[in-house]
């Protein structure tokens, strides 16, 4: 029963992987496209002082004061494209579960590994204590 | 100097209060003699850090800090301390 379940899961994952490769061959899915928003993330990362100094100082001061209305920089990518891409109105949830889903997976598996390891060690320790009390 | 005092509002005072609480919690954690007092001071420091996160408009991090750093780690430290003191008494 267990072997059949493991085999079935492996077949499903293998099939999903083959299907994904066949899909990705034609159109590679990007998570976000920064240049459509208006902020050139590549130019911003290359030389941010030059990118900031291109702007009008009045507009820059206004942007710094009212950040949520007209955000610029890396934050604007998430704030402006978040609702159209994921429909989650809380901005942090798509970052944790969509844009950085691998991070969340590793974080939760760290917890699983830690609990399994402490379970094994502490179980042995408790058994040894009882043995010592018997002696 | 007058300009500095003219710009002070209640948010600045609250920020300064939180930062002073964090610093005081850290110093108390390092300088207390009893281990239980150190653990409780660490919990107080975590509570002030959570308040400061709320003032900086990050409620997600504030909830995580208040639940993990202020409650769970304090409970785990207290359990470890009880276990250690009981083995010392034996």
């Amino acid at each position: 029963m267990k072997k059949v379940a493991i085999l079935l899961a492996l077949v499903i994952f293998l099939g999903a992987g083959i299907g994904a490769v066949a899909n990705l061959k034609d159109n590679f899915a990007v998570t976000y496209n920064a240049q459509e928003v208006g902020t050139d993330a590549a130019a911003l990362a290359k030389d941010y002082e030059q990118y900031e100094s291109d702007k009008n100082p009045d507009e820059k001061a206004e942007n710094e004061r009212n950040l949520p209305e007209n955000p610029d920089g890396i934050a604007s990518i998430i704030v402006t494209t978040n609702l159209s891409e994921t429909e989650a109105i809380n901005d942090v949830a798509p970052i944790v579960f969509d844009y950085r889903g691998y991070d969340t997976m590793g974080e939760s598996f760290i917890l699983l590994t830690a609990i399994a390891g402490s379970f094994i060690i502490l179980k042995n320790m408790k058994g040894r204590e009882e043995e010592a009390e018997d002696e | 100097m007058t300009n500095f005092f003219a710009n002070i509002d209640w948010l600045t005072i609250l920020n300064g209060f939180c930062i002073l609480g964090i610093i005081a919690g850290g110093i108390l954690t390092a300088s207390m003699k009893k281990p239980l007092s150190c653990v409780l001071a660490l919990g107080g420091c975590g509570a002030f850090v959570a308040l400061e996160f709320i003032l900086l408009h990050a409620p997600d991090v504030a909830i995580a800090e208040a639940s993990v750093g202020c409650v769970l780690s304090t409970i785990l430290f207290v359990i470890a301390l009880r276990k250690a003191t009981k083995e010392e008494e034996k």
Partner: protein
């Protein structure tokens, strides 16, 4: 001491405090998990808040009652189930032709509702269930080190 069925209650103040905060902890933690996509919070924070119910039961009633109330082996299996659920929900994006954790069925419902953001909502619930059961199991494991006959808190 000899009658094992009777609940051991030492301090009435601690018991009343545990009784008072137990419903708030469970309901607030579950609410933070359920409304993870529309309000601050999420799976991890809500799970940790809800799993503090285990420590409240221990403070009020002792370890025997905690072991009667919460089955530790069920908690351990529930954590593995949460991990498998997260992987399965994340691989929906693979089947739909995107990245591994891509949001596949994102256009269901209106933005602002609880079930609106596709797989993000379900992944948040899976992580919340995993953290709830995992941290509750970890707390029970650490409390059991203190010994069954020493619950004079």
């Amino acid at each position: 001491m000899n009658n094992g069925n009777k609940m051991k209650v030492r301090h009435v103040i601690v018991k009343c405090g545990a009784d008072m905060y137990l419903p708030f902890a469970i309901v607030f933690g579950l609410a933070v998990i359920l409304f993870g996509t529309v309000s601050p919070g999420g799976g991890f924070q809500g799970g940790v808040i809800a799993s503090s119910a285990a420590i409240l039961i221990y403070l009020g009633y002792g370890f025997k009652t905690l072991k009667q109330a919460i089955n530790p082996h069920l908690m351990h299996k529930g954590e593995a189930f949460g991990a498998i659920a997260y992987i399965a929900l994340a691989s929906i994006g693979l089947i739909a032709g995107g990245n591994f954790v891509r949001n596949a069925i994102w256009n269901n419902g209106d933005p602002g509702k609880v079930i609106s953001a596709g797989t993000i909502t379900y992944m948040s619930w899976a992580v919340g269930f995993k953290v709830l059961t995992g941290v509750a199991f970890l707390l029970m494991l650490l409390i059991s080190l203190l010994g069954d006959n020493q619950d004079e808190m």
